[in-house]
């Protein structure tokens, strides 16, 4: 059994209003020095297959990410 982590982020050229809202809230909470915030999605999949990474890649491309506006990264954790 492998744990595979899939992170899905909006492409850099796509506006990220959630990240912007967090970024703008930080100074009033006393946090300086944060220059940018981008928010995405994080998935943890438990996969029972010899090629867990390639299964996760197909799952991500099919179901977890919208390839028009999002990029994803795959990491096999153990």
């Amino acid at each position: 059994m492998a744990k595979v982590v899939v992170d899905v982020m909006l492409k850099p050229e796509i506006l990220d209003p959630q990240g912007q809202a967090i970024h703008r809230a930080l100074p009033s909470l006393g946090f300086d020095g944060v220059k940018d915030v981008r928010q995405g999605k994080h998935f943890e999949l438990d996969i029972d297959a010899v090629d867990a990474g390639s299964v996760a890649e197909r799952v991500a491309a099919t179901l977890l990410a919208n390839p028009v506006i999002e990029n994803f990264t795959i990491r096999v954790a153990d």
Copy 2:
């Protein structure tokens, strides 16, 4: 400038309906072998501070995660 990644996940004992919905959709899309899916949030912060990790930790605890139902992990990427 450091890029810090914050991943926020529901605590294991908290029901994750988004992850369950994905998990249940997979067999009908032809994916077998995925035993569990949990969904969380992924943040990428650009921080200009000597102690970027500790700034990110305080931002996460204050604004990004709800400590009652969520755990978070911090990773300084570069």
